[in-house]
């Protein structure tokens, strides 16, 4: 469904992506792993329409995403939960969810979808009139995900959802992602928490210095010695 081919992107003279190829098939959860500065966020920005790539192609449901503005990409069925959540500080939970359904395609059925979001994240229903800046990190992440879900996406992209969150909260959120996927939404997940990501995903790609350095079924990568050494730390060596 999502196909990225030979993608190159730069910030000024700095080449952040040097030819990336990956895909997300319908119903899949694909994890995108790699060290800091590898270009993961850059890739997300290209897919979401915030950054124009220098070369290469991005196709979504067989149509090119070249030069399509971000809000239009939402309309086509991709919703992004950006790094650091990027919420609107003075707005309430409810207002965020309402804004999430801003795209014309998402307006129909938005009341029902809001109920679904509250069903997934009950704590948001309790706090729906609260300003998001008074919520905890985990709750804010839920708002961010909820906002993206309100757009009725067929592909949900998340950039580092576990950042700054307690392990228990991370577990809960990744559990939720599993639920969402089983309901039919494909997921592209950028994560630093390699263990959790590989436990959830079907497939994984490793991005290093702007290039794909490895790819395959998540289980296989869990056993891959390079991955274990580079990303899974001393805990992995014990197994």
């Amino acid at each position: 469904m999502l196909e990225v081919e030979g993608l190159e992107a730069s910030y000024g003279p700095f080449l952040a992506l040097a030819g990336v190829t990956l895909s997300v098939r319908p119903g899949e959860i694909v994890a995108l792993l790699g060290p800091n500065g590898a270009g993961k966020t850059t890739l997300i920005r290209c897919v979401s329409g915030l950054l124009r790539p220098r070369a290469g192609a991005i196709r979504w449901e067989s149509a090119p995403l070249d030069g399509v503005p971000a809000h239009e990409i939402v309309e086509r069925g991709i919703a992004v939960v950006p790094e650091g959540r990027r919420l609107f500080p003075t707005m309430t939970v409810e207002e965020h969810l309402d804004l999430g359904a801003f795209a014309p395609r998402a307006r129909a059925g938005r009341e029902r979808r809001r109920e679904e979001v509250f069903a997934i994240f009950p704590v948001l229903r309790e706090r729906r009139r609260q300003r998001v800046r008074s919520l905890s990190g985990g709750q804010q992440q839920m708002v961010a995900i909820g906002r993206a879900l309100m757009a009725a996406p067929r592909l949900l992209v998340l950039d580092e959802p576990s950042l700054g969150l307690a392990p228990r909260v991370v577990e809960a959120i990744l559990g939720v992602l599993g639920e969402i996927n089983r309901a039919g939404v494909s997921i592209l997940l950028v994560e630093q928490n390699v263990h959790a990501a590989l436990a959830l995903a079907h497939r994984a790609c490793i991005l290093e210095s702007g290039r794909i350095a490895g790819e395959g079924p998540a289980r296989a990568l869990l056993d891959d010695p390079h991955v274990r050494r580079a990303y899974l730390g001393p805990l992995a060596l014990r197994e």
Partner: protein, 291 residues
């Protein structure tokens, strides 16, 4: 300087303060959403005033009624100005954008001022309706009715604006764009459309302010710079983000001017606002956008 004189000055200061607030609202909206500092905002106010004046002079339209024509016309003019000029400016990053918009606004302001001088001559004008001289006596303080009505209208417009930004779908989109335009785009908001709307509404607010200025006070092609400065002072005082807060900021400026005029003499009325402005700016050198 008696208490009665001071009270009278304070009342007059609050009456014009409401207009300062309205004038600032448009500038604040545009600055907050587009990150564009349109220093021609005062000239837009001036043009709104002339719109009301000529409707009155040529067609006998009561200026408060003229609002119904001037506001939509200003809205349209704002849309044209955005498409013709500021749509280019918003392509740059924030810091370049602010600087470019300052320069563009400067040129635009000069051009509009010169145009007004050509079309309307440099004479001062005011709308003098039949009821213009009516004055209410409230406990020894004279309150010109027209100015009181203007204050009430300015407040009503501000409240309406606040409601618009809170309830209207695109109003919320505008607020979201102001807070984080990338996140807004990711939520499906057409940011360019939000910019267009914000700029048009900002211009409409300027037109409304100008209409009210023409009826209680006076207008001439040269009032542009003065009103841009008033709006800037209020925006810096009140900060960005709240229309009601901006209105209060306007009242505060009016109040400060009244007090200083009574204390130091009329001619120094303007100086206190400018001084406060400079001092507040220097105290917050990081600008108005950080939270």
């Amino acid at each position: 300087m008696t208490a009665a004189v001071l009270l009278q000055q304070v009342v007059l200061g609050l009456l014009i303060g409401g207009l300062y607030g309205l004038a600032a609202a448009g500038l604040s909206l545009v600055f907050g959403v587009l990150k564009v500092l349109n220093v021609a905002h005062g000239e837009l106010i001036m043009l709104g005033g002339y719109g009301a004046f000529w409707l009155f002079a040529l067609a006998g339209v009561d200026p408060f009624v003229a609002l119904l024509a001037v506001v939509p016309a200003s809205l349209l003019m704002g849309a044209l100005l955005y498409h013709g000029l500021f749509a280019w400016v918003v392509r740059a990053h924030e810091e370049t954008r602010i600087k470019n918009s300052l320069l563009i606004g400067f040129g635009l302001g000069l051009a509009l001022h010169a145009l007004a001088v050509q079309l309307f001559t440099a004479d001062e004008r005011a709308v003098t309706t039949a009821y213009a001289g009516a004055v209410l006596d409230l406990g020894g303080v004279s309150v010109p009715v027209v100015r009181l009505a203007s204050l009430a209208l300015a407040l009503a417009i501000t409240v309406g604006l606040h409601g618009l930004l809170a309830r209207w779908r695109w109003g919320r989109a505008i607020r979201a764009t102001a807070e984080d335009w990338e996140a807004a785009a990711l939520a499906g908001i057409d940011v360019r459309r939000a910019y267009l709307l914000a700029f048009s509404i900002g211009t409409a607010l300027a037109g409304a302010a100008g209409t009210l200025v023409s009826v209680g006070y006076s207008i001439s092609p040269s009032i542009g710079l003065e009103w841009t400065l008033k709006a800037l002072i209020v925006v810096v005082l009140a900060g960005l983000g709240s229309m009601l807060g901006t209105f209060v900021g306007g009242l505060v400026l009016g109040l400060a001017e009244a007090v200083s005029a009574t204390a130091f003499g009329g001619p120094y009325r303007e100086v206190v606002g400018l001084l406060i402005f400079f001092l507040v700016l220097v105290a917050r050198p990081q600008g108005l956008f950080t939270r």
